[in-house]
């Protein structure tokens, strides 16, 4: 439906605002309708995405309906337009103008003259509207109410109460949008103030949005406070590099340094919100760990800085005519992933490439080639779903925008949500989700239902097959939601052993011919390549000689992964020093997101482009480095720039031919092999944890959930522990110690966060889930 068609299929009303006739969909508020004709009625509490409040009274206008004038001015933010309505705003009504000026004067009597030291100065709706709507001088000669300032309402958000105009946007957002009512209005009258309960600070994953929508400088971010004025900043549109939600962002940069990131505006994805990780986790860009210069390991066994020619020569020497595997990582832009994909096939002559730097399976790889490219589910399907099923997926932790979208429907119309999680997380509770043991317990799905399958499904054999079966039998819409921003783009680029770019199956002759002719090569390897785990074990056993590694933390894959990279030739393309660069033979620095342009594909498979924000003479994107390396190897891939790469990708297009059939895999019943280890540990990653891209931002880390071992009341009783105690969790490989949390969970299960402080499951216990024994410390 075109926008024009959409408008005519909706009932409309017509009114006159300041002498201009305007036709809008029925139910449109006067303040919105006025905006459409370029009339900005001043406001504070009004926000298009929040329920109308009518609290601040700044938006008062004169209203007449069918000849009858309202005796007093009305709040335009709570009154919908009606046929025959005549509205006079401050532009054409002296009464409205005086009323608005009066309200502005009242707002300023207790507001401090903090502008010189307030972050909001220069981009402040109060300043702007005071200039446009208010009196030039205040007649107030009394005492202003003051408070101790600022107070931390979390480690990340500061509150200056005396600046607050009590618009309640922040409290309404926290309650209505995020479902985290940890900030509320307290007290009454002129001493009314935003507050927290001190023992429970404002630790919501979405707290940063309140800083952005606060119309004054009452809420500020601790990381940005006092750092810059908006007119110092250059803004670039960005796409978030953290998760696969696909948020539109705006990055503000001053003299080459990223100072803050704000949520952008995309009605079909993140609306005007983002999560705290996307907002504040960018300090990794400027830590001292950044690699700026190529490095080559010398005869002395140490890494030494080298020139680009030197480093490229050393890398080529270790890769030429060798059996090489490529671990691309899940954080690449779509263009960079395409570079790795082409490099593997053209420069290295192999299909042994895999972007999955996390637990994975062959069942998953089949699914990614056979089923995923056929899926078309979007956020809008969640909006209209009759039933939402979450399989191996925790929305708030793994895709915060999916959570917000689902929560909105739960709140608005009681959308039914079902989850197969073994324990009710905070997001399950907010979604009022019914927990079930498996897909066999789920019934009644229709073609309007939505199944969201998380990347952790790969950890349980058969889980993906069950999800596919459920979708096929019910007609429900299926979506697969990975945790990292680069995964869908990597799949589209063919950075995986069974796919070529454009979702072309490797073992399909016509697909190979497509690519061969596009790339100008005579042939491409025909058999699907090794997966990540196969590449790693082959490196360890010697059946592969060398490996090219992108942004990968081996500890995310398995406890053995790093060890498997020793004693082999490693070329690392990295932005920062890591456990991989520490053992690499050649380190080639690459640009981080703000230093290059590119695009990320979100979980829907839709791309969001972003521009380069910072010019760094030393750094280029992965694709360019790989192009230079390919040249050095004598097998060029001709991808000198991101733009050229994007052009090539576009020209290639997507495969619309046959796909391999998806072969379902049966689940297996896990048996406890050692009766000593009689409990099963389950885990998943929290949004805020020890992830590498969250480094360097202590304020954000301060809001991360504290790691606790979740056990049932019965287990606690059996172990003789209460929530004041700690437990030791032992696997065959190691142990972790955590405080206890008593929750509703099966008696034989213990849940811990997978990669949080004091709870790093893979390195400590040797698996992501498995047999453990639990005892009181």
């Amino acid at each position: 439906m075109t926008p024009e068609q959409a408008l005519t299929s909706v009932e409309t009303v017509t009114a006159v605002i300041d002498g201009v006739e305007v036709t809008v969909p029925k139910g449109t508020l006067i303040i919105r309708a006025a905006e459409q004709i370029g009339v900005a009625i001043p406001r504070f509490c009004d926000h298009p995405l929040l329920s109308p409040a009518g609290a601040c009274r700044q938006c008062l206008v004169d209203v007449e309906i069918n000849g009858r004038a309202f005796p007093k001015p009305q709040a335009s933010c709570t009154m919908p337009v009606e046929n025959g309505m005549v509205v006079k705003t401050q532009n054409t009504s002296p009464v409205a103008a005086k009323a608005q000026a009066g309200i502005m004067e009242f707002l300023l009597i207790n507001h401090p003259l903090d502008c010189p030291v307030c972050d909001k100065g220069g981009e402040c709706p109060l300043q702007n509207q005071a200039m446009s709507t208010g009196r030039p001088e205040s007649r107030y000669e009394g005492e202003k109410r003051t408070y101790e300032k600022p107070i931390n309402i979390s480690s990340q958000v500061l509150l200056d109460r005396e600046r607050c105009v009590l618009c309640a946007r922040c409290t309404r957002f926290s309650e209505e949008i995020a479902g985290d009512p940890f900030i509320t209005l307290n007290e009454r009258g002129a001493l009314q103030q935003v507050g927290i309960y001190e023992k429970d600070p404002f630790e919501s994953y979405y707290s940063g949005n309140t800083v952005q929508i606060c119309p004054v400088g009452a809420l500020t971010g601790a990381s940005y406070r006092f750092r810059a004025r908006p007119f110092d900043l250059v803004s670039v549109n960005s796409a978030c590099e953290h998760c696969a939600s696909g948020c539109d962002l705006r990055t503000d940069i001053r003299r080459g340094k990223t100072l803050r990131r704000l949520a952008g505006d995309d009605a079909e994805v993140n609306q005007e919100w983002n999560c705290d990780k996307g907002r504040w986790a960018f300090k990794y860009l400027t830590t001292r760990e950044r690699v700026k210069v190529p490095m080559v390991r010398g005869a002395d066994g140490e890494l030494h800085e080298a020139s680009w020619p030197e480093a490229l020569e050393a890398a080529a020497a270790g890769l030429k005519d060798k059996r090489v595997g490529v671990l691309a990582g899940g954080r690449l832009t779509a263009e960079d992933a395409y570079g790795y994909s082409k490099f593997a096939r053209v420069a290295l002559g192999t299909n042994d490439i895999d972007f999955r730097s996390r637990p994975h399976s062959d069942e998953e790889r089949d699914f990614l080639a056979s089923v995923l490219p056929t899926l078309t589910t979007t956020y809008l399907d969640i909006d209209s779903a009759d039933h939402l099923v979450l399989l191996s997926f925790e929305p708030e932790e793994e895709s915060p925008m999916v959570f917000l979208r689902a929560y909105r429907q739960v709140r608005k119309r009681g959308l039914k949500v079902t989850s197969d999680a073994p324990i009710a997380s905070r997001s399950s509770k907010k979604l009022v989700a019914t927990l079930v043991a498996g897909t066999s317990s789920i019934s009644g799905l229709t073609s309007q239902s939505v199944i969201l399958l998380g990347e952790r499904a790969a950890e349980t054999p058969g889980a993906i097959s069950e999800a596919v079966k459920l979708a096929q039998s019910s007609g429900a819409k299926l979506a697969w939601i990975p945790r990292r921003a680069g995964e869908r783009g990597a799949i589209a680029a063919g950075a995986i052993g069974n796919l070529l770019p454009g979702h072309r199956p490797v073992d399909n002759v016509e697909a190979r011919v497509d690519i061969q002719s596009a790339w100008g090569v005579d042939s491409l390897p025909t058999a699907p390549g090794k997966s990540t785990s196969e590449i790693l074990s082959s490196l360890a056993s010697g059946s592969l000689d060398a490996v090219l590694v992108g942004g990968v933390d081996p500890m995310d894959i398995s406890a053995d992964a790093l060890g498997q990279l020793l004693n082999t030739f490693v070329v690392s393309l990295e932005i920062s020093h890591s456990s991989v660069t520490a053992i690499a033979d050649v380190v080639l620095p690459v640009a981080a997101v703000v230093e290059k342009s590119g695009s990320f594909h979100d979980w829907r498979g839709i791309a969001r482009e972003f521009d380069k924000g910072v010019d760094d003479a030393e750094l280029r994107s992965d694709v360019r480095i790989l192009s230079m390396l390919a040249d050095q190897l004598g097998a060029p891939i001709n991808l000198p720039t991101v733009t050229a790469t994007a052009k090539e990708i576009a020209a290639l297009g997507s495969w619309d031919g046959a796909r391999p059939a998806f072969t379902a895999v049966a689940g297996n019943v896990s048996t406890v092999t050692n009766s000593d280890f009689d409990m099963k540990l389950v885990s998943w990653r929290l949004l805020l944890d020890l992830g590498t891209l969250q480094l360097g931002e202590a304020n954000l880390a301060g809001t991360a959930k504290q790691a606790r071992a979740h056990i049932s009341a019965q287990t606690a009783a059996k172990l003789g522990v209460t929530e004041a105690d700690h437990v030791v969790i032992n696997s065959e490989r190691g142990a972790i110690e955590l405080p206890v949390s008593i929750r509703e969970i099966a008696d034989d299960l213990v849940w811990v966060p997978r990669n949080s402080a004091d709870s790093q499951v893979i390195p400590s216990l040797g698996f992501t889930s498995g047999a453990v024994k639990v005892a009181k410390r």
Binding site: P181, I183, L185, N186, R188, G195, Y197, K199, D200, E723
Partner: protein, 214 residues
């Protein structure tokens, strides 16, 4: 962290009966706050946390309510909380003078408590007894038609352990905590004590009788 363990099982059971009065549990927050005050004397942290746990609310949602209302105290008040009406009518008729006099006598001011924890003062708003002005409320019981000297006497009697009876209330003045329990809905059986109506309430009726009304 479960702090409902700090309240006894009986107390937690009482909370459940309060919650059961309402179609939606959140409505119970007000009587539960009165109940917490009846145990702890004011709204304590453990009270807030227990109510949040019982009603499945965030603690901030509980403080949002408890800080909105004048009767919920965030700091301890005295065993006997003396409220002097200083709204216009009572103030004009003597409430202001009473307030100054009792402040002088006790050495404390509005919202303060004597060092021995016995008496606290508050300037209160109109308590719907204007025909009995000047009005003083002690633990929210009526003490009508007060003067500076009668309030001074009242305070002395409270201190000596022999508080006077309310003018329109139970025969013995209950404590702050006892009356908070009543407001939580826990009957103390004293409804039948005290007059039906004071003289001012009966004025019109008496005149009507004189005029020959039924």
């Amino acid at each position: 962290m479960s702090t409902t363990m700090n309240f006894s099982d009986e107390q937690l059971a009482v909370m459940d009966t309060i919650i059961a009065r309402y179609p939606k549990s959140r409505s119970a927050i007000m009587p539960l706050l009165h109940y917490v005050q009846s145990i702890d004397g004011y709204v304590t942290e453990r009270g807030i946390e227990a109510i949040a746990a019982k009603l499945n609310l965030a603690t901030a949602e509980v403080t949002a309510v408890s800080t909105f209302y004048t009767q919920y105290k965030s700091e301890p008040v005295g065993e006997y909380h003396v409220g002097i009406c200083t709204n216009t009518l009572c103030a004009i008729m003597g409430g202001d003078a009473i307030y100054e006099s009792v402040c002088d006598k006790l050495g404390i001011k509005n919202h303060e408590t004597t060092a021995d924890g016995k008496i606290s003062l508050e300037r209160i708003e109109c308590n719907a007894a204007c025909d009995y002005a000047p009005v003083v409320m002690v633990n929210w019981e009526f003490f009508d038609n007060q003067t500076p000297s009668s309030v001074n006497d009242l305070v002395d009697q409270v201190r000596s352990g022999n508080p006077p009876a309310p003018t329109r209330g139970p025969s013995k003045l209950p404590t702050w905590k006892e009356n908070s329990a009543v407001l939580a809905g826990l009957s103390d059986g004293l409804a039948d004590q005290g007059v039906s109506a004071g003289d001012p309430s009966l004025l019109g009726l008496r005149i009507a009788h004189e005029q020959g009304q039924k």
